[in-house]
Symmetry: D2
């Protein structure tokens, strides 16, 4: 997928389908999170390493566009990139494809906060550098 | 909530929380669906009445902005309106509040399709009229 | 439902259905939790009041028997009773019915632990008394 | 794990945790299903191959015992065996471990029904033979 360096794979679980016979649209939101966790594991020492430094990343916005239905047992590839790091805010962009066909795309926005006070806290330098390396 | 005629209430379930101690952001997407179902029950004979006429409403887009955390057992009011009915497409807009404070807002976009062929099908007149009455 | 003094109602959400066209069997486990929360709110000052005294109730066992399928938008009544309080352990029993027909039944087992140390801690007297009153 | 020939791995998703900071107990029920799907893919041509022959496998019973908490990002191994095939009924047994420590165990019971009439239908010979090979 052009413009993306990282992807992770998910398989649609039966519990993630609904009575329309397709993957429920809220399931995609969970897969985006699975992709973020995989991205952080690959590039920034994992989500737990961020937490261990006293920082929480809150989700402040979710946007998904559904282009095609996904079905039980479909193998999906979630392309993920981290963009727009500024102050205490950053975003991820996503493209979900099944065998080369775009199934959904979207973005999530996040804010870094102090884990104790829940006040906004600047994105740490090491995280910004890890993302810069990942996206270069 | 100004601009909204309809609301439905949800209470945050324990299963909807996550290890950050707050309602998981994907839970909100499910509550928007609960609100649509309640809206249709109130104004258009219920979702099953739409299905019984051979129409499915697919979700083509979801957008949520999270303004404040929701926690276990919080009572939330989901304000809902149906807008922008055109051809085979329409949208819902939402504002979720807790005791007068905005917790989240967003929209979902939908397409009406023939339940058998899955081809786009115009929004039926009776549905458009029901929405017009609800939103007037 | 004979033998039960307390019930709470749930409506099957669309997100809780699966591609078999019925409520997914894991959804029932969530409804049992919703019922426990309602039971505690009615009889013991709510789950948060238990937590506020430094006690967590862990779930140690879940058992559900599915007698009939539940479908989207079904109204279900979850009958709930708290039984077998001994030391740091207690159980809930459940019967889920739809308009007088048994849909599922089951039980959950729980252990009370100190919220900080996670060591087992005896069920507090006030909780045992609240349950005794509720079940008499 | 003694007595088991098959396992599949899952990693605890953040969405599967709850405000106690651990994997929610209903998440385990979903993982058992993920394990069944993997078992069928390995041994019986996949769940879709069963459906394609006009058979549905309903879940009639779920039992889980929780021995230890699972946490976000834990890697869990779900050991799975299919047992007690009789007429239209069979069971799976499970042991979930994390690095050699038992986290949970349990079973699920299932009934085979005709996908159209939903009447009980004998377990097909090819399925019983596939299970016999898998468990020998």
């Amino acid at each position: 997928m052009e413009g993306y360096n990282f992807s992770t794979d998910v398989v649609v679980r039966f519990a993630e389908t609904d009575a329309q016979g397709i993957a429920h649209h809220a399931s995609f939101v969970v897969w985006l999170e699975v992709a973020r966790v995989a991205y952080l594991a690959e590039h920034a020492g994992g989500y737990l390493s961020i937490q261990s430094r006293g920082i929480e990343a809150l989700t402040t916005e979710v946007h998904v566009r559904y282009h095609r239905a996904a079905r039980f047992d479909d193998g999906l590839r979630v392309w993920t990139r981290c963009v727009d790091l500024r102050g205490a805010r950053f975003r991820y962009e996503y493209a979900i494809e099944r065998e080369g066909t775009l199934v959904a795309d979207g973005f999530t926005a996040h804010a870094t906060v102090d884990a104790t006070t829940h006040r906004p806290i600047r994105i740490p330098e090491w995280f910004a550098e890890a993302v810069a390396r990942a996206e270069s």
